[in-house]
Symmetry: C2
């Protein structure tokens, strides 16, 4: 048997490859090219349009950080909107909070939900939870009729290419601010500090125009470009409000030291954002 | 012209590739295969036996963290030994300290020194500094006759493959302890937390048998496997002794928040080391 690899190229100058044991799903859904591979070391891996989205081994650095930072910053989150994230990983984390009464996942592509429900059993089949609601709809349309409804919004999206490009726009950030309840908190996937500094600077300026306490933070995800990913925290409540609160379940990535460390930025990047 | 890439595979399941504009040096030195490429985005890149060692764009996360963490922890470092590191990047950082009277680089391969002196002008030609001393010798032999001589030792080496494997051994850690002056501090390159947890656990146990205050820390280096690298700090002085001291020059990566953040470890990895 010959070597099989999946090779990702999100930036023109950088590629990453994981060794594939078996390609389990490989289809065009109408929205995107969806692949699910059994990889060596990283386990099952979801790939959308050639870009690695989720692996069994390292998704905790992503899902715990995009979810718990805004959830903990809010003192009593009851309603949560998750944009994208049909894989269910962020939803699983949100549902750990007993305070949550309603968690809406707004995902465009139903096949992502179906394939991931079958192949990521560790996510605990979160869409079967009675507090979960799946909406197959464009998040732009959905949020326009959701003024002030959500205590926490998590934008767990693909990268700003093709249809997802508009999720990295001032218009989208404004819509999230519009759908947020008073004292709500938002976290968005917001790219990699070494590769995407100028995009991040633009999004931070937008965040600063909308909220009193925006902040960029980041986590370690070896299968993402450059080995990590960042997030934009946006709220009128500072992220530090979530520090040292009890966790709803034991964590695999997050602890109070990592929570604080996620907001520490290297000097070159601090200067780039200034 | 066709696409040219350098592809690195340090682990059997993971590859990374950088786009090459021009291959500037490609030779076998007698010790190793030495390549120096002009890459897109990352600039000039040193590759030894197929593994990326240094790039112009992201070496600061490596060099500042392997150097300043032990240097700042020591209250008055006068004598410094750097094992490997013929590229001169760590030496440059060490020489920023006015207290340093003698900085010895013990490197096996003189061609690394020559090629890097020519191609990394930003490292400031540190071997020309009168306080610098280049020793072309095996560090094992050198340290055996250097009992108690060094205030700081920096082991800035390649990965534990082939001749460098012995640099990740209890014998080598013992030799460093032997060559260290009282209250001295050591930092060694110590691999990636996701990929190399069991090696790191072994090295930490060795460090604990030799020093009162060993600690693993890490930094972001996108061109390294998994996008980062770790270090073993070893001393009878805790690393926190270096926090909030003035820096000898402005930094590009390090600041007090990143200094502390480097020692924060994700929960899964804390458990793996326990």
């Amino acid at each position: 048997m010959t070597d099989q690899w999946i090779t990702e190229q999100l930036h023109p100058y950088y590629r990453k490859s994981l060794r594939v044991e078996t390609m389990l799903v490989d289809e065009h859904t109408g929205f995107q090219h969806l692949q699910l591979a059994q990889t060596e070391f990283f386990g099952k891996t979801l790939i959308l349009d050639g870009i690695i989205q989720v692996t069994e081994r390292d998704n905790m650095g992503y899902h715990e950080m995009i979810t718990h930072v805004p959830m903990l910053a809010h003192d009593n989150p009851k309603t949560v909107l998750i944009v994208g994230a049909g894989d269910g990983g962020a939803l699983q984390q949100v549902l750990h909070y007993p305070s949550v009464e309603r968690a809406v996942v707004c995902e465009l592509d139903r096949r992502v939900v179906e394939v991931c429900a079958e192949h990521f059993p560790d996510f605990g089949n979160p869409f079967a939870n009675p507090r979960a609601e799946l909406v197959i709809e464009d998040a732009f349309t959905y949020m326009q009729r959701a003024a002030g409804q959500f205590d926490v919004i998590i934008s767990d999206t693909t990268d700003p290419i093709g249809p997802a490009e508009k999720l990295f726009s001032a218009e989208f950030y404004n819509l999230m601010a519009h759908a947020l309840a008073p004292n709500g908190a938002i976290a968005t996937q917001c790219e990699q500090m070494y590769f995407d500094a100028s995009l991040i600077k633009t999004m931070l300026a937008t965040a600063q125009s909308l909220f009193a306490h925006p902040a960029y933070y980041h986590s370690l995800v070896p299968t993402y470009p450059g080995g990590g990913i960042g997030f934009m925290y946006m709220s009128n409540v500072p992220w530090t409000n979530g520090l040292n609160k009890p966790y709803p379940v034991p964590m695999n990535y997050l602890n109070p030291e990592m929570h604080r460390a996620a907001f520490a930025l290297p000097e070159f990047f601090r200067r780039a954002l200034a």
